[in-house]
Subunit: 104 residues, 2 copies
C-alpha cells in the first residue's frame, strides 16, 4: 500500500444558495489545509496523503472526508476537529466515532 | 463499506509545457468519463464510484487512477483501457496487471 492512509476531502463547491449545499461552500478547503498542516507538524506527511476530491456524494453531511483503505467517512468536519482525527485515527489507527457519518 | 470500489481519477491540470506534466493535460477527464459510461452500461454504478481527485502525486505516470479499498494504482490509462479495467477489476475483482504502476 503506497500510503498508510489516503484521505480524500471533498472540495466540490456549489453556489451558497444551491439546494444540495456543498462541502466547498461549508469550508472544506480550510479543513484540508488544517489536515495538511497537522500531518506535517506531526511528521506523518510521508505515510498519509491529504488529497482533494470532487463530489463524494454525501453533500448533506459536508464538509465530508473519507479515509482509505478502511473506508471510514467523517461528516461536518471543522478545522478544529482535525487534530483529533490526526492524533487518534491517522497516528494511532483509532477512528473518531463522534465524527463518523452514521450508516456509511 | 459504502462502495465496493471507490475509484479516484486524478484530474489535476497543469499547463501543457509544465515540467512535471499532469494527468489533466494527458486526458484524464476523458478517462473518467469513459469509466462513468462503462459503469453505467454494465449496471455497476451503484457499487462503484468514479470520483475525480486532485493531484495523486504520480504525475510521471499519468493519467493515473487508484482503486480503493485495495489501493491498486493504474498509470498511463487511456479511455480504451477502461472497459478492461471495469470488466476485470471492478466487476470480477481481478486487477489488470499490465496497467498497474510498478512499485505502488
Amino acid at each position: 500500500m503506497r500510503y498508510r492512509f489516503h484521505v480524500f476531502v471533498c472540495e466540490n463547491t456549489r453556489p451558497p444558495d444551491a439546494p444540495r449545499g456543498s462541502c466547498g461552500a461549508k469550508g472544506s478547503a480550510q479543513v484540508r489545509q488544517a489536515l495538511k498542516d497537522e500531518l506535517l507538524r506531526r511528521g506523518l506527511h510521508d505515510g498519509v496523503r491529504a488529497n482533494s476530491a470532487g463530489c463524494l456524494d454525501a453533500c448533506a453531511h459536508g464538509p465530508v472526508l473519507v479515509v482509505y483503505p478502511e473506508g471510514v467517512w467523517y461528516g461536518r468536519v471543522r478545522p478544529e476537529d482535525v487534530p483529533e482525527i490526526v492524533a487518534s485515527h491517522l497516528e494511532r489507527g483509532v477512528p473518531v466515532e463522534r465524527l463518523r457519518i452514521k450508516g456509511m
